[in-house]
Symmetry: C2
Subunit: 237 residues, 2 copies
C-alpha cells in the first residue's frame, strides 16, 4: 500500500517536471516567434498551452485523491500541498508564455519588438527558459544550492527589465506608443514568468528544509492544545 502511495507521490513530482519542461520550451519558442514574427510558431505555442492546463488538472485531481485516500500527515502532506502550489505557478507560467505568443500573432506580419531591443528581449527569453530548466532540475534533484542560484538569475532578469525601461524612457525612443505598450507588457510577462520559476524553486527549499514548517507549527500549536489532541506525525504539518 505504502509503495503504491509513494509511487503516486513520485508521479505527481514527474508531472510537475513535465509541466516545467513544457512551459520552459513554450517561453523559448514564444520568444523566437515574437522576434522572428513567426505566426506558425506562435500558433503552436498558443495551442500547446492546453497540454499544460491538462497536466495541471490531472495533477490536482491526483493530489486531491491522494489526500482523500491516504490522508498523509507531516512531510507527505506538505509535499502534496506544496505540489498543488507549484502546479499553479507552472500553469500561470504557461499562460505568460502564451501571452508572448499572442502578442506575436497580434502584430504579425510585423515583429512587436523593434530591432534595437531584439538582443534584450532575446536575453530575457533565454534567461526565462534557463530559469525554468533550473526549476525543473531543482524539483528532480532537490538541490538547495541550485535553488538559491535561481534568485541570482532573477536579479539578472530584473536588470534586463530595467534595461528595457531605460530604452523606453530614452528621449530618442522612436518606435511610437503602440510599440512602447507592447514592450512594457512583454517585459512584465518575462518578469512574472521568472518570478514563478523562482517561486517553484523556493517551494522545493521549503519542502527540503521545512523552513516555513517551524513557524507554521508555532502558529497552530495553541489551537491544537486547545483541542487536547496531538498532531499526527513528526513535524506537525
Amino acid at each position: 500500500m505504502r509503495d503504491a502511495y509513494h509511487e503516486e507521490l513520485d508521479s505527481i513530482g514527474e508531472a510537475l517536471v513535465d509541466m516545467a519542461r513544457l512551459v520552459g520550451s513554450a517561453i523559448g519558442r514564444a520568444t523566437t516567434a515574437i522576434l522572428d514574427a513567426d505566426l506558425k510558431l506562435a500558433e503552436s505555442v498558443i495551442a500547446a498551452d492546453q497540454k499544460v492546463d491538462d497536466l495541471q488538472h490531472d495533477l490536482e485531481a491526483r493530489a486531491i485523491a491522494l489526500l482523500a485516500r491516504q490522508q498523509p500527515v507531516a512531510t507527505d502532506l506538505r509535499i502534496v500541498v506544496t505540489s498543488l502550489r507549484m502546479s499553479a505557478d507552472l500553469e500561470r507560467s504557461g499562460d505568460l508564455a502564451q501571452h508572448v505568443a499572442k502578442l506575436a500573432r497580434l502584430r504579425f506580419p510585423d515583429s512587436a519588438v523593434p530591432y534595437d531591443l531584439h538582443a534584450t528581449i532575446l536575453e530575457m527569453g533565454q534567461l526565462a527558459q534557463r530559469l525554468m530548466a533550473k526549476a525543473a532540475e531543482v524539483i528532480v534533484t532537490k538541490d538547495i544550492d541550485l535553488a538559491l542560484q535561481l534568485e541570482q538569475d532573477d536579479d539578472a532578469m530584473d536588470l534586463l527589465h530595467r534595461t528595457l525601461f531605460q530604452h523606453l524612457m530614452d528621449d530618442r525612443w522612436k518606435h511610437g506608443i503602440e510599440t512602447a505598450v507592447d514592450v512594457t507588457l512583454l517585459g512584465r510577462y518575462y518578469e512574472r514568468f521568472a518570478d514563478h520559476a523562482v517561486s517553484v524553486a523556493k517551494r522545493v527549499v521549503y519542502l527540503v528544509t521545512g523552513e516555513h514548517a517551524d513557524e507554521l507549527q508555532q502558529d497552530v500549536q495553541p489551537a491544537i492544545k486547545g483541542e487536547g489532541q496531538a498532531v499526527a506525525g513528526g513535524d506537525g504539518v
Copy 2:
C-alpha cells in the same frame, strides 16, 4: 470534536472574507492615491499589504493543520483545498493593489495618470473594488447568481481596459512614453485584480455545485480501481 472542526472550517472562511475586504479596500485607496497623488495614502496602502500576507500565512497554517489533524474527505477536503487556492488569489490581489500604490509613490508629487484618463482609471478602480466586495459576499452567502454576475462585471473591466488602450493608441496621445508605460501597467494591474476576484467567485461555484468534481472523479477512478480501494465519502473528492 466535529463541532470544533467545523468551527475551524468556518474561521478559515472568515479569514478569506477578511482578506477580500482588506484587498478591496486597498485597491480603492490605491486608486485614490494615484489619482490624487497622495503620498501618505499610497504609503499606507503599501504598508497595509503586510496584514494581508499575515492573514494568508495564518490561514494556510490552519488549513494544513486541519488536513493533518482531521483528515477530511469529500466536500470538507474540497473546501480546505479550495480555501488555500482562494487565499492565493487574494494575496496576489493585495500585491496588485500595492503595485498601484507603489506607482503613485514613484511619480509623486505628480500623478501617474493624465487628467483625460482620470475618469477611466477611477472607473477601473471602483469596478475592481466592487468586484472584490461581491467576491467577499459570494464567500459568505455562496450565492451562485451573484458569483455569475462577477463574470459580467469582468466583461465591463475588459471594456474599460480596451478604452484605456484606445486612448494610448490614439495619434493625439500627448503624454509621452513614460506615462504610456505607467498607464499600460496600471491597466494590467486592474485587469489582473479583477481576474482574481472572478477566480475567487468561480471557486465558490465549484465548491457549491461540485462542477469540476465530477470530471475529477472520472480522472482518478482508474487509479483508485487499480489499488482496489474505494474513495471515502460521497462525492469522491
